[in-house]
């Protein structure tokens, strides 16, 4: 205890130096935590988007389907399998799907598309298609009506023009893009919502009809009530061709999917591909989506599926994205590493000065009988305290910022949002809450301090008292 008090008092002998050294640690810890939080948060958000609007966390597939996505590699959907999967504690719902590729055309416009046969009700457990239906659209006509409305501020009218033809699934994004503050919203939004309302329909099992992605609809110049022609390769190399009415338009938050997705009712889709009763995949909605729970669930249900089927997790299904995030994550870690290296040298510099300055003092202390071990302990505690001080302060500041950020993600408005959307990204930056990455910073700071302390400790043990006293 007395060691600690001595160390604490020593710290305040040169206040300025203690502050500056701690501040340098604070600086590094704050930046590291802030950037990690943004980086990890955005990965998490991107994965959630990809998983929850498309693949799901776990899928059951025919064993060769993933390597070769053809209609022949499908399996028969039977209720036994369904019951057994649903019996698992973590499985919330099973979502049958039939996915394939087709050439879609509307008159002269043609494009390769992803055809997905779904059960709209069951999709509510996972991809929530209904939430992704386009509700508002800034068409030329709606912009004209906005322009003529005297109550709408000039700035909003200009922004409306910038976002011409943009589609929205909810009014809050529309409000943000148009730069309308929450205060003005009750005044202006009802009118704007009326002007830009988009009449959308839905699909149901047993009723021919499709939903198409917003970008795809734009490309093929499709509107509600139009007809789309799908041509593809069916079961056992048969030709799959069909004509369907567009019932609705959806906006999927993944641009790569949005520009090629066509949703068909499951049974209609199976009919199109001449594979009634077959599925390409059975996606599972889960209660607990943590890595651990997913892995445990996969292990449990391995026994349920037959040898003809396999279980596939989200990591394997989003392999490319995992690899991208991994590369990005490593580069982020290298940058933080450089920052910490620089700060470590700063801490070492302080240690060096402390030692040089107090050489004589050390000599006196040892001469009057202080054990070298005790002296070294005090010295070490001093530096650890400096590190701890900086780390606690840095974590505190970062925690406040991050906790605020978790509830208030950075959402870009107006023209800035437009730039993000052009780039194919959601105009939103998400923070990750307090997590294990906090522990890593502590570990690094402790390591940094312990490494730099090894110098004075060696000095103390190798000290010749007579020489030190003369210093």
């Amino acid at each position: 205890m007395s060691n600690f008090i001595m160390a604490w008092r020593n710290l305040w002998r040169n206040r300025r130096r203690t502050f500056i050294t701690s501040a340098s640690v604070l600086f590094a810890v704050f930046f590291a935590l802030f950037f990690r939080s943004l980086q990890l948060g955005s990965y998490d958000h991107m994965f959630k988007n990809a998983i929850e609007s498309y693949t799901g966390y776990i899928q059951v597939q025919q064993k060769d389907y993933w390597d070769e996505k053809i209609v022949d590699n499908t399996f028969t959907y039977d209720s036994d399998l369904d019951q057994q999967l649903l019996a698992d504690n973590n499985v919330e719902a099973t979502i049958p799907r039939f996915e394939s590729f087709a050439l879609a055309s509307n008159g002269p416009q043609t494009k390769g598309v992803l055809v997905m046969g779904v059960d709209p009700e069951k999709e509510q457990h996972l991809s929530k298609i209904t939430d992704k239906m386009v509700k508002y659209r800034l068409t030329e006509e709606s912009i004209n009506r906005i322009k003529q409305d005297a109550d709408v501020p000039q700035k909003v009218k200009e922004l409306a023009l910038l976002f011409k033809d943009n589609a929205y699934t909810n009014s809050s994004r529309l409000q943000l893009d148009l730069g309308i503050s929450d205060k003005d919203a009750p005044l202006v939004m009802p009118a704007i919502e009326t002007y830009s309302r988009f009449e959308n329909g839905s699909i149901n099992l047993r009723e021919p009809g499709v939903l198409v992605g917003n970008k795809l609809a734009e490309y093929l110049k499709l509107g509600i009530g139009d007809t789309i022609v799908l041509i593809g390769q069916g079961y056992h190399a048969s030709t799959a061709a069909g004509k369907y009415e567009i019932k609705g338009i959806v906006k999927i938050p993944l641009p790569d999917i949005d520009n090629k997705i066509v949703y068909l009712p499951l049974d209609i889709c199976q009919e199109l591909y001449n594979a009634p009763g077959n599925l390409t995949s059975l996606a599972l909605a889960v209660h607990d989506n943590s890595d651990k729970a997913i892995e445990a669930t996969i292990n449990r249900i391995e026994n349920v599926v037959s040898g003809e089927q396999r279980i596939i997790g989200w990591r394997e299904m989003n392999e490319v994205m995992v690899s991208q995030m991994d590369a990005d994550n490593k580069s982020g870690m290298i940058m933080i590493g450089i920052l910490y290296l620089v700060i470590a040298f700063g801490v070492f510099g302080t240690v060096l000065m402390l030692t040089a300055e107090r050489k004589r003092e050390f000599g006196v202390l040892v001469a009057i009988g202080m054990q070298k071990k005790k002296l070294a302990t005090i010295m070490t505690s001093e530096m650890l305290l400096i590190g701890l001080l900086g780390m606690l302060a840095g974590s505190l500041v970062a925690t406040i910022v991050i906790l605020y950020g978790v509830d208030h993600p950075i959402i870009f408005k107006g023209s800035m949002a437009k730039m993000f959307e052009d780039y194919g990204m959601e105009p939103k930056m998400v923070f990750m809450g307090i997590n294990t990455y906090f522990l890593w910073q502590m570990f690094i700071v402790a390591l940094m301090v312990l490494l730099s302390i090894s110098y004075p400790v060696r000095k103390i043990f190798g000290m010749k008292v007579v020489n030190a006293l003369r210093a």
């Binding site: 300025r16 340098s24 041509i231 590493g337 450089i338 920052l339 040298f345 510099g349």
Partner: protein
């Protein structure tokens, strides 16, 4: 005089100064090298995009890019060609027919863009022909009585045109490369089995080899077993000018590898002479003019000049064709600067601490100097100069080391093969040649000097506040 004093002062306490200098060296080296790697990756991306994928300027019907309608053609190329070639800055011109369609093999099908080209003209604009994978053929070099198509490696994999086969020849090649008998024996289990996907082959290798062997020989085995079925064919189908479904069988002329999955997956190049008869178009109709200019930066100006001559057409420069590329090249320098500023800010703490120490340690000396008539301005500038020298020495050494390491690594590049799949999906190669422009070193030098100045202000002010009489009395 004051410069010399400041310089000598730094070396009075060598260890202390060296610690600061080394920390600056490491910080600057880390920062500059990281920037060089990023910059290299981006440079290579831009380079590949401009030389292999899009070139500099596109001209087409104003509505063509909305949905690639086959009927929106440009007619009479010779008339256009003369005017375009007469425009200063234009280096080469090529015409393309572009049709959306589907590529099918017996088992697989996928949506593609069928691009009809004139191989000779194409070679004057794009260097794509140089990326042909050896052994897969060529860029329409060989005459054939069949229709020919030139496709990307990823599409070839998708369509099962590339497979993985282990045969005796493969085992011999591996043995010649120094793969031990124990490993090749294990591979004998797969002899003559045709793996249709890279993934399933990798999976099987994983099952028989241990982790060590996989790491050591995995990519070697993959390379050796990579097999291209000669005279492979695929069917291209699309809707012709009159909305009638049409198509034909094409033989693979060659396979290219541009390390950009999206491009490799979507583009099928065929000869115009093969394509046009299927489309219902006439030989003098095409969809897009692609223009290569002498300097990528002058593209917008040349585009403006062309726009005056062809008011009825949509003319775009590369920045408009790929806005993400333009945004990146325009904004990335600011990002580099911010990155360096954060590192320098971290370094500043160390410098402030050291300079403060310098001032407090020399209280008596500074008092003496003031007492014998050195004015405050000189004391202030002496401290500031010491700080600047300290930072600059570290900075220059750091930049020197960076330059040396960049030079060394730029020769063979750095291979981030672990992240290949992810990087190539974004259009980046995983084999990066770090590169940095000399102007970046100037920027960094300026930033270092600013850091030196800023971090000396507080210690120098401390020195000014010293009362000479008081200072002289301290021990």
């Amino acid at each position: 005089m004051i410069w010399k004093t400041a310089w000598k002062n730094i070396w009075r306490n060598k260890i202390r100064s060296l610690v600061v200098i080394i920390s600056i060296t490491i910080g600057i080296f880390g920062g500059v090298f990281a920037v060089a790697v990023m910059n290299g990756a981006i440079d290579q991306r831009v380079d590949a995009a401009l030389n292999e994928e899009i070139s500099h300027i596109h001209m087409n019907d104003p509505a063509f890019r909305d949905n690639y309608d086959i009927r929106l053609t440009l007619d009479n190329p010779d008339r256009l060609l003369d005017t375009i070639e007469a425009t200063p800055g234009v280096v080469a011109v090529t015409f393309r027919t572009i049709i959306t369609g589907m590529a099918n093999t017996a088992t697989k099908s996928t949506g593609v863009q069928i691009v009809g080209i004139d191989p000779e003209k194409e070679k004057s604009v794009f260097t794509l022909y140089k990326t042909t994978i050896p052994g897969t053929g060529s860029f329409f070099e060989e005459e054939s009585r069949y229709n020919q198509a030139y496709i990307g490696e990823d599409l070839a994999k998708e369509l099962n045109i590339i497979r993985y086969i282990v045969d005796d020849a493969v085992l011999d090649t591996l043995a010649a490369k120094g793969v031990p008998q124990s490993v090749t024996d294990k591979l004998k289990a797969f002899i003559d089995y045709h793996f249709r996907s890279e993934k399933s082959f990798k999976q099987e290798i994983k099952n028989v080899l241990n982790a060590n062997e996989q790491r050591e020989y995995g990519s070697m085995i993959l390379d050796a077993a990579w097999s291209f079925r000669e005279r492979s064919r695929m069917t291209l189908t699309f809707l012709d000018k009159n909305q009638v479904q049409t198509g034909a069988v094409f033989r693979i002329a060659g396979i290219f590898d541009v390390r950009n999955s999206m491009y490799e997956m979507s583009q099928v190049l065929v000869k115009n002479s093969d394509l046009v008869p299927l489309t219902g178009l006439t030989p003098d109709q095409f969809h897009q003019v692609i223009i290569k200019v002498d300097d990528m930066q002058s593209a917008p100006a040349i585009k403006a000049a062309l726009a005056k001559k062809f008011p009825g057409l949509e003319i775009l420069d590369w920045k408009e064709i790929q806005p993400d590329l333009a945004m990146m090249t325009d904004m990335i320098e600011q990002f580099y600067a911010i990155f360096m500023i954060i590192i320098l800010a971290a370094l500043a703490f160390g410098i402030v601490n050291t300079m403060l120490m310098v001032v407090l340690e020399r209280t008596k000396e500074l008092g003496m100097l003031t007492a014998i008539g050195m004015n405050k301005k000189k004391v202030f500038s002496m401290i500031m100069l010491e700080s600047i020298f300290l930072s600059l020495v570290g900075g220059v050494v750091g930049m020197g080391i960076s330059q040396a390491i960049i030079g060394l690594t730029a020769r063979n590049g750095i291979n981030f093969s672990n992240y290949q799949e992810g990087l190539e999906a974004l259009g980046y190669t995983s084999h990066i040649y770090p590169v940095i422009s000399p102007s970046f070193f100037i920027l960094v030098t300026i930033l270092i000097i600013i850091t030196g100045v800023l971090s000396s202000i507080y210690p120098a002010l401390k020195a000014l506040k010293l009362d000479p009489a008081e200072a002289l009395r301290t021990e």
